[in-house]
């Protein structure tokens, strides 16, 4: 009988004495309620435990039981379409069991234990298999095929494999290794703080298309890349993250609501089942896993939520899928670290954050990437990581933003000024960057058009020129500008308003294919060139601005993909006619 008991309680941190075989990161159950916690420091016979649930009412002297296992999760069919809290408890089941408010000490399996899945073998009895190899499949949702893989470290001959209906806890196959035999079930367990290994990381070469013009055109993130999206409150972090979750062209989406608003998770839960994947026309929910640890849920579980999320992401990557993970917001995760660190009375680093903040962030982002996964047959999967950062006061010089920018390769800088004038997505085109853009040149050449890279450079050049000109306008007024410069401002404005601004709430505008993007941008720049030419011939810019075809340019974004070619032709014809008319007037 163990005499391990609670000796001190301070918020989410509990100190227990004489915990059985205490090891770092062992999961323990505390007190009568059986609150879940994790050992994070050992000193003599004292174990410091961070508790994933509210500790109100807990008393010194209550017993502590060591599960002797690190925080682990069950991986198998049924993860998709689920919504979990930070420690992988399905919130829908939790609601059935304990009502509308989250009660404590409830242990609920992450996967439906009763549901039978159709298992289809891909290997037969007697086949030689080794770690990571796919031995069979389960159609998890109409969108996603779930692969059943040989566990890491196992190699041998399949002594048994049978097609049929199984629950997640039943075995579907058995492998005879040299020394023993290993059962393979529909599900497996993994410790969330340990990255799942891969064979080799590959350089990213294709973009994660998001249907968001400012991202796809100017600041693309690669499949398997990392991106940071910092911004003050109200600048549209969450909307951008949700747009990514909706429209990104990956197979699986893991969305982590880390310390954010409850109503936001509800919004996702209500909208995703109704939204269709643009390609397959199936509900988006069928490829989505949600992890919701809202701000009022316990802080230690918030810290864990990032790891449970990424472990699920890695698992689907190992099957050969492209996975995209959104974490909103990593600042709340960092604050959870700070809070626990403060309770442990650790020496603080910058702004009270623990000294290991940078390392922990880097470790997290390093779990992303495009990789050849471990398996005898070559299989490639990718895990793209997009982390929102909520810098206090919108000041990007704070530790979480800075440490994130050190390890991510795309920076989408949200700008409060743009947001307050309702320029959405309010991603500042002058300060944002993507280090992948050049790596993916070939992909764009082969898949969009040969001119795409040039178009993009030209448009960015005009926007930068606009910023310079604006400073001059501030000094001397718009009217005093020479006509050619007015022309540049016109084109820049058209790029901003007709192209960069994109409404997440409009049925059509919410998603733009890369093809439509290139058509749009080429039309806008074409108009700019015509204007430049017209100005050279002495036509005032104000006259060009009131051309009818201008209205058509602003209509492209509201036009359905199926009608786009027709509209582009109309614009081409009109543009030529109307400019020709202008030229005629001048020469007359």
């Amino acid at each position: 009988m163990s005499n391990s008991i609670v000796s001190r309680i301070s918020g989410p941190v509990v100190i227990a004495t004489d915990v059985d075989e205490a090891k770092m990161y062992d999961v323990v159950r505390i007190g009568e309620l059986g609150l879940l916690g994790e050992i994070i420091r050992l000193e003599g016979n004292k174990s410091t435990i961070q508790v994933y649930e509210d500790t109100t009412g807990l008393r010194p002297g209550e017993k502590v039981v060591n599960t002797k296992r690190a925080l682990s999760m069950q991986l198998g069919p049924g993860l998709l379409t689920s919504i979990y809290d930070g420690i992988q408890r399905p919130l829908d089941v939790l609601r059935e069991k304990s009502g509308d408010f989250i009660s404590r000490g409830k242990i609920i399996p992450a996967l439906d234990q009763q549901k039978k899945w159709d298992f289809v073998p891909k290997k037969k009895k007697g086949d030689e298999v080794s770690e990571g190899e796919i031995i069979g499949e389960v159609q998890e949702t109409p969108l996603i095929n779930h692969k059943i893989m040989v566990p890491f470290g196992t190699k041998g001959k399949l002594s048994e494999i049978t097609e049929g209906k199984y629950t997640v806890n039943e075995n579907v196959a058995q492998v005879k290794t040299t020394s023993s035999s290993v059962d393979i079930g529909l599900s497996s367990w993994w410790m969330v703080r340990t990255p799942r290994p891969v064979l080799k990381k590959l350089p990213p070469e294709s973009p994660l298309l998001t249907g968001q013009r400012v991202l796809d055109t100017f600041f693309p993130v690669a499949k398997g890349g990392t991106a940071a999206i910092p911004g003050p409150f109200g600048s549209g972090k969450t909307v951008t993250q949700q747009q990514l979750a909706k429209w990104a062209d990956s197979n699986v989406i893991v969305y982590i609501g880390c310390g954010e608003r409850g109503n936001e998770m509800t919004e996702i839960l209500t909208t995703f089942p109704e939204l269709e994947d643009p390609k397959s026309k199936r509900p988006l929910m069928e490829r989505t896993i949600l992890v919701a640890n809202t701000s009022n849920m316990p802080v230690a579980a918030r810290e864990a939520s990032i790891y449970t999320g990424i472990t699920m992401g890695e698992y689907y990557r190992d099957m050969g899928h492209d996975v995209a993970l959104m974490a909103d917001s990593t600042s709340r995760w960092a604050e959870a670290l700070r809070e626990i660190s403060g309770r442990l009375e650790e020496m603080p680093g910058e702004e009270g954050y623990p000294a290991y903040l940078g390392r922990r962030l880097a470790e997290f982002y390093e779990r992303g990437g495009k990789a050849i996964v471990i398996s005898p047959e070559e299989r490639i999967g990718s895990l793209t990581l997009v982390g929102a950062v909520s810098p206090p006061g919108g000041d990007f010089s704070e530790p979480v933003s800075q440490n994130t920018l050190r390890v991510t390769r795309v920076f989408w800088a949200l700008d409060a000024n743009l947001a307050s004038r309702r320029h959405f997505p309010s991603i500042n085109w002058l300060t944002s960057y993507s280090l992948y853009a050049d790596d993916m040149t070939n992909w764009y050449k082969n898949n969009v058009s040969a001119e795409w890279i040039e178009l993009r450079k030209e448009a960015m050049g005009i926007l930068q020129r606009e910023a310079e000109l604006q400073e001059i306008v501030q000094l001397i007024g718009y009217d005093a500008l020479p006509e050619p410069e007015k022309g540049v401002l016109d084109t820049a404005r058209s790029i901003r308003e007709d192209y960069l601004q994109q409404s997440a709430y409009d049925e059509v505008d919410t998603y733009t294919s890369i093809r439509k993007q290139s058509l749009m941008l080429s039309m806008i720049l074409e108009f700019g060139k015509m204007e430049e030419e017209a100005i050279k011939k002495g036509i005032p810019s104000s006259k060009i601005g009131s051309l009818e075809v201008r209205k058509l340019l602003s209509k492209i974004k509201w036009t359905k993909e199926s009608d786009i070619d027709e509209l582009i032709n109309e614009i081409k014809v009109n543009m030529k006619q109307q400019f020709d008319k202008l030229f005629m007037e001048v020469t007359l």
Binding site: R8, T56, I102, G234, E267, Y478
Partner: protein, 464 residues
């Protein structure tokens, strides 16, 4: 355990009291403190270990001694007895009657620190609340179950705005009024009287519950006051099916009380001395707004906070903004121009606006119109800044139009005085009226079908 009175107080520092020899005080357990003169005070356990409990005292530490004071651990965490009788009553910051009425006795007792709402149980807030204020209804729409704070500053009329909302708020087509739960933290008695008088005059007092902790009351009570109010609100909403509007004022005083405790505990401070867990703590208040599937009532929150030195990046408004679903920001500049309410529309935001507007709830053109007004007003303000340097003559024709609309927008749309109650149609019509001068080519935010349907005047050709 609850019968033992401990007299073993080793230290009193700030609002904290260290009691020794306590074996197993529960974390969060309530404590009764008896002074030598028989006076009683309340406290709560903040840190507990074998042999030592750290107790936070709600109320003054005046008269407490390491000798002569005895402490009783009550064996339960903080709760409040709630009943229908609470409507129309006024309580102090700890929930004791302040109006000479009887103490609330009820079988229904609720934990003050309620468990969080399961995100899966939440219902998405989507019912439009008509506040009768153009800048809110038209531009930053409030919906039932939302938490929308007012960011104000010293000397700005946030109280007028809050009471006007409480008075006028209604759901279109519904006849039921909102019940109001009002929690005052550290406001002056003058301000408190203003609220009470306003509720009285509008007849709302009968469906209101007031918790008043005034500036002269102990600051530590402020930690409990908003939680008392929200627990009561949740009872009224979820057990009694009422729609409750919770006004919390002033959250800045709450946060300062939080900082005081943190400093007394010698914790590692975060920004400006506020504790690192302030975000988590504030969210345990704000996140209690909402609606629950299958239950009729709702809790809508309007916290008010005075931004120190009007600085929106100060930790209190900053952390609040990250939790709440938008914010209404008051502007000193507009206040000086005598615009009431002086709402700075551009920095204000309602994140749940889209759910509550459009065909079926307000009007189909609402979203587009609001976006256009935003963009136009922003451009008009730019033009105003520019004209201050280069003179109005140097502006382009379009910029001059924007400037004019921006001026009109402030005078006619934002400004409406404290008595005018505008319907949503009136609000939207004023909006279209303002835009009537704008050429159609500048109305990039509005779909052409809406322009055709709602535009006030035939477009005037420009450049001729």
């Amino acid at each position: 355990m609850s019968n033992i009175a401990f007299k073993t107080i080793s230290k009193i520092a700030g609002p904290l009291m260290f009691v020794e020899g306590v074996k197993d005080a529960a974390y969060g357990e309530m404590v009764e403190i008896k002074l030598a003169n028989g006076e009683r005070r309340q406290g709560q356990v903040l840190d507990t270990s074998k042999g030592l409990a750290v107790v936070q005292i709600f109320g003054a530490t005046f008269g407490l001694g390491t000798t002569g004071t005895s402490t009783k651990f009550l064996g339960e965490t903080a709760t409040i007895s709630v009943s229908d009788e609470m409507l129309g009553r006024t309580f102090d910051g700890l929930g004791k009657p302040r109006d000479n009425g009887p103490t609330i006795v009820s079988k229904e007792k609720f934990d003050l620190v309620g468990a969080g709402i399961n995100p899966y149980s939440r219902e998405e807030p989507s019912e439009f609340i008509q506040t009768g204020m153009s800048n809110i209804d038209g531009m930053n729409t409030l919906v039932r179950g939302q938490k929308l704070p007012i960011f104000s500053g010293a000397g700005l009329p946030h109280n007028l705005l809050a009471t006007q909302i409480a008075r006028q708020a209604k759901v279109l087509g519904g006849s039921e009024s909102f019940s109001v739960v009002f929690a005052a933290m550290g406001i002056t008695s003058e301000e408190a009287n203003f609220f009470v008088k306003q509720f009285e005059e509008s007849g709302a007092l009968g469906r209101s519950v007031l918790f008043l902790n005034l500036s002269s009351d102990p600051s530590m009570e402020r930690i409990l006051t908003p939680r008392l109010a929200l627990t009561t609100a949740e009872f009224l909403a979820y057990e009694r099916e009422m729609h409750v509007l919770v006004i919390l004022t002033d959250m800045t005083n709450y946060c300062e009380a939080l900082r005081e405790i943190s400093a007394a505990r010698e914790e590692v401070p975060g920004r400006r001395g506020y504790p690192g867990y302030m975000y988590t703590d504030l969210s345990s208040i704000y996140e209690r707004a909402g609606k629950i599937k299958g239950r009729k009532g709702s809790v809508t929150q309007i916290p008010i906070l005075a931004m120190p030195a009007d600085d929106i990046t100060h930790p209190i408004p900053d952390l609040t903004g990250y939790i709440t679903e938008g914010q209404i920001v008051l502007s000193r500049e507009l206040h000086r121009l005598n615009i009431q309410p002086p709402v700075d529309v551009l920095t204000s935001l309602s994140r749940l606006m889209n759910q509550g507007i459009g065909a079926g709830s307000t009007r189909e053109d609402h979203r587009n119109l609001a976006d256009q007004l935003y963009a136009t007003y922003a451009q008009g303000k730019d033009a105003r800044a520019l004209s201050a340097i280069v003179g109005e003559e140097a502006l382009s024709d379009t910029d001059r139009k924007f400037l004019k609309i921006a001026n009109e927008f402030e005078k006619r749309f934002v400004n409406q005085g404290i008595d005018e109650n505008r319907s949503i149609e009136q609000t939207l019509d004023i909006g279209w009226d303002l835009l009537s001068d704008l050429p159609e080519s500048e109305m990039k935010r509005i779909k052409s079908e809406f322009i055709a349907k709602y535009r006030k005047k035939p477009p005037v050709e420009i450049g001729e």
